[in-house]
């Protein structure tokens, strides 16, 4: 199999090199900076960190917020999944769809909505209740993170609960166990790995998130925001690196627990699971209907609030409708290709300057997202193909490196990129290409895992049939394997597109005065006090993502959101 082997070897070596250079090297650089000062090993950064009360608090804050979020989200999502899988409540499809909404928006949308409702000038707090209490700080972060993490936890629990054999429950009940006892003794234990893995995922997502705490945290700092403020505010790259290393510990641990338990949970899935459900008793049925509606309502309120907030004159005092917030302040960035395109297309002012210049961050984001979608989906498909079907030497290393990115917080990756690549000879630094590479690497895990899952379904004989009919390795891949992975490819591409449009944490380090991204602008607009414009920008991002999801659904006949379990 000489030519095949050579080709496989070269591709594997290329992928390994890319991952080593763009994933491992930046992280190593961070560790180096945190431990080494003037050429020798030192712990002084860590001593500084742990002895500074204010800075040290970010660690305890992070742990507190993440633990509370984990407990609340896991419980909420568990019962939601239970309602969807184990009761005969009506409207399951609707509930499931609504629960995936938080994935299509930047995480900050939760924070923006909470501020509009419960902030200093919140609709509920100021206008309806007239109280001085507001949601800034830990409470806001926790509520926001719960909303954001909900669909991620739900995917795992939904899979777990729909796979566990319901006949076990029936057997227990036929043996005389009460419904409650059955739940405690049979249902819950059989879903334990799923529950623990969902919890670990929520913990990982929360402790690594930057968008929500930066908008709603106020003076309540967490690790992710502390890294950014050390670097941007104080230019203390060494302390930023040190906090990054500290953040890596809980986030990698949580990821590993999640990864290990998800495997274990799927191994428990019985092939004989049976979809038939006996009709639930009315109390159970309507109880779960009410509960699930309440959660769907909360999610919908977030979106409705931000949409509304972007169309009204002065929230919450003057609710007359306006489009003025969509005329963003001049952000001074450029998107050369798009600007040329729009200026040639639109002649009348002020629409021309608005679309061509003020919307530049949106067009840059769109361009980045399209490239990320195509390249990301292709590269991860190729990596998945090598790992699953070709098994070259060093396959284990390739697999580990492919799965690792999900464990590394975005802010850490972003800072790592600055440290590793902000060098004059590194020509793509400061261009959109470094952003594109960064987003692809940060989201590599899910792309590879979904490629592998999909490729597992292609019968080995189909490939062998192609080979026996005279097809070489390249023809086999392009004519047989790739066409068979088309739907999976499009859904991975959609995922990469969504992530590129909505991601904040890593790329905040990589944007510049010239190159800005829509999701990041939401934060800057908000920090500038232009909350309404931030809402409007968020609305635009959501509309674009939803538009692409509809196109993809049309193209594949499937929802682009299926199977997007991890971050």
């Amino acid at each position: 199999m000489s030519r095949d082997k050579v080709l496989t070897g070269i591709t594997a070596a290329f992928l390994l090199a890319v991952l080593l250079f763009f994933l491992i090297y930046p992280v190593v650089d961070i560790c180096r900076l945190s431990f080494i000062k003037e050429g020798s090993f030192t712990l002084s950064n860590y001593i500084t960190y742990f002895s500074s009360q204010r800075v040290f608090r970010s660690l305890t804050n992070s742990l507190y917020v993440s633990l509370v979020t984990t407990v609340i989200t896991t419980i909420l999502a568990f019962f939601f999944a239970y309602g969807l899988t184990r009761t005969t409540m009506p409207g399951k499809g609707f509930c499931y769809t609504v629960s995936t909404f938080p994935l299509i928006a930047p995480t900050i949308i939760q924070a923006l909505a909470l501020i509009l409702l419960f902030g200093r000038n919140g609709l509920v707090t100021r206008y309806l209740l007239g109280t001085d209490w507001n949601i800034y700080g830990a409470t806001g972060i926790i509520v926001g993170e719960c909303l954001y993490c909900f669909p991620n936890a739900l995917f795992i629990l939904y899979t777990t609960l729909s796979a566990v054999d319901t006949r076990l429950d029936e057997a227990a009940q036929s043996l005389g166990a009460s419904a409650l006892k059955t739940f405690w003794k049979v249902t819950l234990p059989s879903a334990k790995y799923g529950i623990a893995s969902a919890a670990a995922l929520v913990f990982n997502l929360t402790i690594t998130d930057f968008g929500i705490p930066v908008v709603i945290g106020g003076s309540y700092t967490v690790l992710a925001t502390e890294i950014v403020s050390q670097v941007f505010g104080l230019q203390r790259f060494d302390l930023g690196a040190t906090i990054s290393v500290i953040l890596l510990i809980p986030s990698i641990s949580a990821f590993m627990i999640n990864y290990y338990l998800t495997k274990k949970s799927y191994a428990m899935i019985s092939g004989q699971a049976r979809p038939f459900l006996q009709p639930s008793r009315p109390l159970k049925k309507w109880g779960f209907t009410f509960y699930c509606s309440l959660i769907c309502f909360s999610i919908l309120v977030v979106f409705a609030t931000v949409f509304l907030g972007s169309f009204v004159k002065t929230w919450p005092y003057d609710f007359s409708l306006t489009l003025k917030h969509f005329d963003f302040p001049s952000l001074g960035s450029r998107a050369p290709l798009w600007t040329t395109f729009w200026t040639s297309l639109i002649k009348e002012e002020p629409l021309r300057s608005m679309i061509a210049f003020k919307y530049a961050p949106i067009w840059t984001s769109l361009l980045v997202a399209i490239v990320v979608a195509i390249v990301g989906a292709s590269v991860t498909l190729l990596a998945g193909y090598l790992i699953e079907k070709k098994k070259p030497k060093g396959e284990q290393v390739l697999y580990t490196l492919s799965v690792l990115p999900a464990a590394i917080p975005g802010v850490v990756m972003g800072l790592g990129y600055v440290l590793a690549f902000n060098k004059p000879y590194f020509l793509i630094y400061g261009t959109i290409w470094i952003i594109i590479i960064n987003i692809i690497i940060c989201n590599f895990t899910l792309g590879v895992l979904s490629s592998i899952a999909n490729l597992k379904q292609i019968d080995r004989s189909v490939e062998e049939a192609a080979v026996s009919l005279g097809a070489g390795p390249v023809s086999t891949f392009t004519k047989v394997v790739f066409p068979l992975s088309r739907v999976a490819f499009l859904s991975t591409a959609t995922f990469f597109f969504m992530r590129a449009m909505t991601t904040i944490s890593a790329v905040i380090f990589l944007i510049s005065a010239k190159i800005k991204l829509a999701a990041i602008e939401i934060i800057f607009l908000d920090v500038d006090g232009r909350t309404a414009s931030a809402n409007a920008m968020c609305t635009v991002v959501v509309v674009i993502v939803v538009g692409v999801l509809f196109i993809m659904r049309f193209a594949t006949g499937k929802s682009g959101l299926t199977g997007m379990g991890t971050k």
Partner: protein
């Protein structure tokens, strides 16, 4: 003369497990060979070594005088038919059949002609634009068959091609494969665990067990003269008795069966094997007196199963189960009934004798 395929001391080891153990075979051009054996006997491994999807640990695969151990699968020009059909789901019937021709860079016109020819061969001209998912299992496997035949391979290898199909379709397709083989005079190597399939289809059958060949021969020989008790048991159904040979007879506990010819050695541990259809069954009081009384044994009919043309009886003989197949017509004439006593006659010439020594049974 022809382009023969030869296996020389062919061996495959997976770690410490020897899947195929030094097998030798010469397959002539145009011959239809069947590898028959229980799962895990190494038959598919041999096939995969011939195709090139499995590396050879030791020994040689020789085709047309050349050792082809290290040839790429796509260069061997062997066609393969898989158990799971392995049609390309993203291509129509026509495109599936044309795939191998395109890979060999055949001209458009020649490809179209060849595809037509292949479709005619299986009578599926009207389905050319359908996708595999729109076809039944049997239809899919016919397409897979001509897809493999389209590039005119030197040898066609079939890996349990009919195992995934219904019994009735299996029998029909079996006949179709046989017809194609006779029409095209193509060397075919067919792997199956279904002895009936192997016996009805092949020119020669190779019975395998534990990575080794137990018997190679024509179907008739294998059924009639199984070389070992394993073959006797695996190919068809056999009743076995263990005993001591004494002169013309074999002593099996309480009974003495007369056996002819009994062989030369005066005393030896032996197995006696007898096919179910060779045993004659009579109502208890109605056995004809011409029969040798030492081979006449009483028993009770425990189970009656209709097989169609024949009836299978499970008869309890002193606590041992003996299986006997009786033609349906005879079964009715003799008025045999479940739960009733009967007499079994074992014709001396129907026994096959195996030495116990070196036998797994």
């Amino acid at each position: 003369m022809g382009r023969n395929l030869r296996l020389e001391n062919l061996t495959k080891r997976f770690g410490t497990l020897t899947a195929v153990d030094r097998v030798n075979l010469e397959i002539e051009e145009g011959e239809f060979i069947c590898f028959l054996g229980p799962s895990g006997c190494g038959k598919t491994t041999i096939l995969r070594m011939i195709t090139g999807f499995e590396t050879v640990t030791d020994g040689k695969v020789v085709f047309d005088g050349k050792v082809i151990n290290d040839f790429l699968p796509q260069k061997r020009e062997f066609g393969i038919v898989f158990q799971s059909y392995a049609l390309f789901p993203n291509m129509t019937v026509e495109e599936n059949i044309a795939f191998g021709l395109k890979m060999r860079r055949m001209s458009k016109k020649a490809t179209a002609e060849r595809v037509d020819q292949m479709l005619d061969l299986i009578g599926l001209r009207d389905w050319r634009h359908l996708y595999p998912a729109q076809l039944s299992g049997g239809q899919q496997q016919r397409v897979a068959l001509v897809r493999a035949l389209a590039p005119d391979p030197q040898v066609l290898l079939l890996d349990e091609p009919l195992s995934a199909l219904d019994a009735k379709i299996r029998v029909r397709l079996r006949a179709e494969v046989k017809r194609l083989q006779q029409e095209l005079k193509k060397t075919m190597i067919y792997v199956t665990h279904d002895q009936e399939e192997a016996l009805s289809i092949a020119d020669r059958v190779v019975v395998m067990e534990g990575g080794q060949f137990r018997q190679v021969g024509r179907p008739f020989e294998i059924y009639k003269y199984p070389a070992s008790s394993f073959v006797a048991d695996f190919v068809g159904t056999s009743n076995f008795f263990k005993g001591q040979r004494v002169g013309e007879s074999v002593h099996t506990g309480k009974r003495q069966f007369r056996v002819s010819p009994a062989g030369s050695l005066p005393q030896e541990e032996v197995f006696l094997a007898i096919r179910p259809e060779k045993i004659e069954v009579f109502k208890y009081e109605e056995a004809p007196s011409r029969l040798d009384s030492s081979n006449l044994v009483p028993g009770r009919i425990d189970v009656v199963t209709f097989l169609g043309a024949a009836v299978r009886l499970v008869i309890n003989v002193d606590g041992e189960e003996v299986i006997s197949d009786v033609i349906e017509k005879e079964f009715e004439q003799k008025q045999l009934k479940q739960g009733e006593d009967a007499l079994l006659y074992f014709p001396p010439e129907a026994f096959i004798v195996y030495p116990v020594k070196g036998e797994g049974k």
